[in-house]
Symmetry: C2
Subunit: 214 residues, 2 copies
């Protein structure tokens, strides 16, 4: 499967490019800057330029699926949350529809289901993610939305817990590498189409955890 | 008509409460702080407390229509744009559905139709307004969306120009008082239900300008 990774230079994106290549897929790593091309190639991906605030859609040419894992990050202002995490995500959905990329996996956030959750400082982020998710859900794409809890840079464990329902006690932190592996598992399991899956650290092998009956 | 004005202490909201009262309607002025109650009463409105980030929905009790003219304003950060202009607006739509308030007029912004318009500095705002508008459009409410161009505190003229289609050359600034009058005109004309209307300064009497065939 040719999978366009949007945000291929991010924490999850880098892991995802590697894992897609390892699993025999053909990752396309979409980045904003040519200086990031070598890093994408080193991980087995085909680098392409795409700017979520500018020219973007042609970078999807030939892709079978797209994964949105771009984020404005914690060091930029909330205006970038609006422009990248929300509007950029919507533009990706539109671009996929335009280019016939039918399969879409979005990396959302745990409390996008309830944006006014604690801590208050994260509420604006959850609003943006929720609104992006809603747009994707209403689109024509075959979508899976992953809502991981707090992300860490810990080693992959190959195991997570997943819930398809709201779990208000929150959940354990999850390594970005395990989120990346969950994306691969979703792309390889059409049963996840139309599902919104909360992910947190846990004990279930990833391939089992993301099954709708898992 | 009992009309709940959400953001009754804002520039448009204050004008709107007065004009609704003058036109024989019963405005309910929803504000965040009891210190604003007297100002609402002075304009002929019934003041109620409502917090768009907290307890809000009960303030709509008994209303026939609601007007969303709350805004985080230019002096707050973009996080408030996400929390008030976007999520607060969505909460209002949900609250209206819950309380049986079927008619809704939203004050949006001119370039919500094309959020990546110039100037770049306003793009995050247009993203928030657009996403709020989209949510309203998909709701069950009888909605009218007004998208005024740059707002001024000039005297009311009683005249505007309105376009139902995109007009890429922008438009002339418009007094807040004329936007408020356009809201009253929309509430009194069911032909505006389901319409998104761009408003700018002009020469057409407001009641005529907001007609779908105007």
């Amino acid at each position: 499967m040719r999978v366009a990774v949007i945000g291929a230079n991010g924490g999850i994106g880098r892991e995802l490019v590697s894992r897609l290549a390892d699993a025999g897929h053909d990752p396309i790593g979409i980045v904003r800057d040519e200086s990031q091309f070598d890093a994408v190639r080193d991980r087995g991906g085909e680098p392409r330029l795409g700017d979520l605030e500018g020219e973007f859609a042609p970078a999807l040419e030939g892709a079978d699926a797209a994964v949105f894992t771009a984020g404005s990050g914690g060091d930029t202002g909330w205006e970038k949350t609006l422009l990248i995490d929300l509007w950029g995500a919507r533009r990706c959905v539109d671009a996929c529809a335009e280019y016939g990329v039918d399969r879409f996996v979005a990396i959302s956030a745990y409390n996008a289901s309830e944006p006014l959750s604690e801590p208050e400082s994260l509420r604006p982020y959850w609003v943006a993610k929720r609104c992006a998710d809603d747009y994707l859900e209403r689109s024509s794409l075959d979508a899976t939305i992953l809502r991981p809890t707090r992300l860490t840079d810990d080693e992959a464990t190959g195991r997570v817990s997943a819930r398809f329902e709201f779990r208000d006690e929150g959940g354990d932190a999850i390594p970005r590498a395990d989120v990346a592996q969950a994306v691969v598992a979703c792309l390889e399991n059409d049963g996840t189409i139309g599902e919104t899956i909360r992910l947190f650290g846990g004990d279930t092998p990833i391939e089992n955890a993301i099954r709708p009956d898992g």
